[in-house]
Symmetry: C2
Subunit: 358 residues, 2 copies
Amino acid sequence: MTKITARQIAAQTGVSIATVSRTINNNGYVHADVRARIEAAMRDLGYLPNQAARNLATGRTRTVGLVLQTLHSPAFVDMTEAIQMTLREKGYFLLMCNTQFNQQIETDYLRLVQSGMLDGMITNAINDTATEMRQLVQQNYPIVFINRSLTGIEGQPTRTGFVQMDLQHATFLATDYLAGLGHRRIGVITGDMQLSTQQRRLGGYREALQARGLEFDPLLVQAVAVNRNEATRDGQLTPKNANALHEATVQATGEFLTAMPDVSALIVIYHTMLPGVLQAIRQVGRRVPDDLSLVAFSDFPMAPFLDPPLTVVAQPSTEMGHKAADMLVALIEQPAQPAQHVLLRPELIVRQSCKPYP
Amino acid sequence: MTKITARQIAAQTGVSIATVSRTINNNGYVHADVRARIEAAMRDLGYLPNQAARNLATGRTRTVGLVLQTLHSPAFVDMTEAIQMTLREKGYFLLMCNTQFNQQIETDYLRLVQSGMLDGMITNAINDTATEMRQLVQQNYPIVFINRSLTGIEGQPTRTGFVQMDLQHATFLATDYLAGLGHRRIGVITGDMQLSTQQRRLGGYREALQARGLEFDPLLVQAVAVNRNEATRDGQLTPKNANALHEATVQATGEFLTAMPDVSALIVIYHTMLPGVLQAIRQVGRRVPDDLSLVAFSDFPMAPFLDPPLTVVAQPSTEMGHKAADMLVALIEQPAQPAQHVLLRPELIVRQSCKPYP
DNA sequence: TTGAAAGCGCTAACAC
DNA sequence: GTGTTAGCGCTTTCAA
């Protein structure tokens, strides 16, 4: 655990510490022979430059944060891996900031950019409308939003980017498909988060209904309460919110299906709620697809092997991850400019969880 | 993006920079009034201490790394979230280091501890037998291994910890359950990694066979080749290895099932291979559980909703994550001592993917 | 092509 | 209780 410093490499090689720095960073002029000797010494002594010192000296950390609510969603896993691989190729590191839907934790993590610990942030933050968020953006810290939007910064030079799946189209695809099968009472299970995206998701639903001449009934939209304030683990050492969300989903969906016996099709907007919905469907004694058609959001490797194989709206998560990482690095390394936007299309993958309405 | 420094807070408040530092860190003596004024100034100016500077001055970063091959395994997701939540409570951050099974990337990430970027590491590194690994351990860098072991360091004071599921018992549970149902030709689908754990996994298999008076046939153990050298994304922007692994699994399993028609039960050791195995089973025209009984490793939320509901050996992933994080923080904050060990028990969750042998 | 020197912004003795 | 001072290990002008 002996720390070798650049000073020792310099002494060993008989050069100045500045020359060592130049060869480490491969900039400035260093004589080939000298460079070779220095590199040999670094190898021999197992020298690795101290990152903390470099960070302080350069004012950069080559580390960015990823603020997500949870990884319990295959789309987030895909995105996270894609982000990390892309960042690695570009010489950046990734700090994981899962919030478990807790807004306080989210805010704390977002601050890390301001504290100089992170060069930037990729996030699908819940409180995207909060003042902290706008402040960050206005202070020109590099931020890329995933499936979020932010009003009031149009045209202003910031270091903000947006990577979005076309959410309205995603919900449209699902709704239109079900309506095309003859379903007239199509339920939606969603979260209660006040997201900037919520209205676009429902927008696609309404758009599809209208196109098919169906009426929008707000009672068909069932929001499941997400606990955003407690995220500490309970005695069981289990993430409390995961369980709470599951229970809340089972209950809300069960009551919904019971209260609305004429609902013949269901769209599940958030993957995290899917197991709860499936359980509730079983509990109320309905069968998919015979008694209820089902479309879920996000594809996942097991979807073809469910009973029945699940029809889903697939999100181009991996591509979104790559784009987000590319975009963030560009924002970090370039001056502020008007916000960048990338919009990707979702895709309906039809399997066997839907049937024509009798 | 104006950077406020402690110096400015000091000037604003009319105290020295040292006093500001004391109130930030809440150590040493600071008069209550002075403290209040400093805190007010910090709040007013939106001051946040620069992390890079603190890291350099203290020689610590309060950041640890998590080196995993992939997040495409629910057990790893559970573990990652648990680790992150525990670390957060203790004031540490988590750097994600996914390797996509690439050994070079793995080694690169492991070095981050030596470069002073990370205070420690939690890992299930593949090359746990490699010299780099032993070197890290011998240099007393805090490392916690998950489901790995390391020989030759017994009794030596190091900063090493081990959190393990009882792998031998896990395989024993699965094998014994299937043998108890009357199966005599029980196949195992595993990876080809030269892991220190592989023999323990197979040990449980052999142990259960022996206890049931069945013979061990090495032909019943099918290893799927894992590509450990390429991890760059391909033109499709898709993690190459994920696809490659999937294809390799489908093919190897398909050939295995065709070559071994008398195999009536299958144990799948790695969750990442499960979709490939399920697909291969379909392709060769076998049906679970009628033509083939199946036990998979790691439980996951969708397991009860597969066709058929899947019998699994569940890993206490969340608890393992908490333990690993607790252990690592202890190793970081305390002097070297003989390695710590935690061994947790797996659990067989019986659903409907197995039937008695006819 | 190289070296000297001044920081980067903070912490931690040590003195008062 | 508080201030002074010397670093932490590197990068980066500026001279030589």
